[in-house]
């Protein structure tokens, strides 16, 4: 268990946004890092949970007095770790095979609203395959291809509600929304193929069992549902079946 202490100097002038910490194990090709986000920055630890290898302080310079400053949304993509921020920027950190020499290599611009979640999956082999999706408070989804420079492939607009959680599996984007719906999109085209009226309140979280293609959705309506994702054998279009 990591004792998540607030590192870094306490600056009385900086507005504290005491958002709960987010924690994520990032599995990279040669190592596993534990990443924590909070209102002040991003901490990265070795897999033993106590050797801190990197600390990134959030830049609150652009924030107006009414904005909360925080980092939210963590995912590993190849040898990169991506972390979302309150401004919509996605920070891309280049992680070496070992040691603390971690570098912020890119800041992705694609969102104007705070990032809610990031999902990645290993590249499927082909060239133009999307392997990362970022979501924000407006419900906008950005689909990326990772690389020495990340490329924005397509945008899927929101419809007035936040998208708190997103998953990516075999080219299928699963997005849970604040109005209780779960949508499935084709990552390459951005087309909506499945719309599920899943919950009577906001969807809090999605999780995916990648080996069997089962999607779990949890909502503030106190329910948990499981959906089987598949593709139609005739058309190849994404389909979903309720299991629970």
């Amino acid at each position: 268990m990591v004792a998540a202490d607030l590192e870094g100097p306490y600056e009385p002038g900086v507005r504290r946004a005491d958002l709960g910490l987010q924690v994520h194990w990032c599995v990279l090709p040669f190592r596993v890092l534990l990443v924590l986000t909070s209102h002040r920055g991003i901490q990265m630890y070795e897999s033993n949970g106590y050797t801190m290898v990197y600390w990134h302080a959030l830049d609150s310079g652009d924030a107006s007095p009414v904005q909360a400053v925080f980092a939210r949304g963590i995912a590993a993509s190849g040898h990169f770790i991506c972390v979302g921020t309150w401004s919509g920027r996605v920070l891309v950190f280049d992680i070496p095979a070992k040691g603390p020499n971690i570098v912020l290599s890119e800041e992705l611009a694609g969102h104007q609203m705070p990032i809610t979640d990031i999902a990645t999956e290993p590249a499927q082999g082909q060239d133009c395959v999307a392997d990362m999706v970022t979501a924000d408070d407006s419900g906008l989804l950005c689909v990326w291809r990772s690389g020495p420079e990340f490329t924005l492939l397509t945008r899927i607009p929101g419809f007035g509600v936040p998208c708190p959680s997103v998953q990516l599996w075999q080219g299928i984007i699963a997005a849970g929304y604040g109005n209780g719906q779960v949508h499935l999109y084709e990552a390459t085209t951005g087309n909506l193929h499945v719309q599920i009226n899943a919950h009577a309140r906001a969807v809090c979280a999605l999780d995916l069992a990648s080996e069997v293609g089962k999607l779990l959705s949890a909502g503030e309506d106190t329910f948990v549902h499981i959906w089987k994702l598949s593709r139609s054998p005739e058309s190849g279009y994404i389909e979903a079946t309720p299991l629970l």
């Binding site: 705070p114 209780g180 909506l192 599920i196 009226n197 009577a200 309506d221």
Partner: protein
Amino acid sequence: MSVRTLPLLFLNLGGEMLYILDQRLRAQNIPGDKARKVLNDIISTMFNRKFMEELFKPQELYSKKALRTIYERLAHASIMKLNQASMDKLYDLMTMAFKYQVLLCPRPKDVLLVTFNHLDTIKGFIRDSPTILQQVDETFRQLTEIYGGLSAGEFQLIRQTLLIFFQDLHIRVSMFLKDKVQNNNGRFVLPVSGPVPWGTEVPGLIRMFNNKGEEVKRIEFKHGGNYVPAPKEGSFELYGDRVLKLGTNMYSMNQPVETHMSGSSKNLASWTQESIAPNPLAKEELNFLARLMGGMEIKKPSGPEPGFRLNLFTTDEEEEQAALTRPEELSYEVINIQATQDQQRSEELARIMGEFEIMEQPRLSTSKGDDLLAMMDEL
């Protein structure tokens, strides 16, 4: 955390406080004109322009204890007085009621409708006082200006900020227990039936589309709940049908409302943690109180109007008993001030406190170096 949460928290808690006081004034058979005076005085202090200005500045939420100090001051803004035990019970009831309302809000944005419900009822209390009515309407306008344009994501953040404020508060309220909206462990029951929020579809349908966006298949499934479509959206105008019942006066029936302290040891542990650890925000909390209370204009009681004591319990003995048996961990002691190094600030606060006249209690004569803690003790 959202820095836009305090006005909503303050106004809704204040509304609940007024509902409870109104009910107790009637239950204790306080003469109509006195009761009206008390409510008018409190409401007029709450909606005072200077105070509202401070309240609406973007800022964080401070501790429950800090906020309680404000309400204690408010409750004593007139000829009415409350003993500690009654003030404790009042604050317990207020906080649990608003916690319930926030939890049950269908959409995060609906917390604004809850606020409007409180304001609508408050306007009913001061029907005959046009000046105070105007103050409340002005606050209404400010709320609309600030919150009218916020996104769903920002309201979600406000909701989370509020829920974090209420975390680990599990005081059992007899009215909630009786209506089966609260369990015996103090947790609220989340209903899985009724209308869905405005903008949400009733769960139970999967639609599948082709590349052209045409629906090619649909599956219906049993959701598990028993939901119906939302009838209509509540009104965010100055006047209108809010549709939502949360935030309306649940004390309009003349029934005594009791609280019981939750007995879960886990809760007690977390409360103890809060009071023992030195509060790094102590100085900021003092500043917050200084600003807010400085904006409060307490009318000095003039004329022959005698004060009276309101009891939140049914008898005086019950009130005494409650004071003796309140768990240590749940006591709302004054803010733990470590070292008031900021001499100027604490002097200013001391000066403001000095302006508050306390009825029926002679000022204890202490040495010149009155420390802040002692002054606040006297409230």
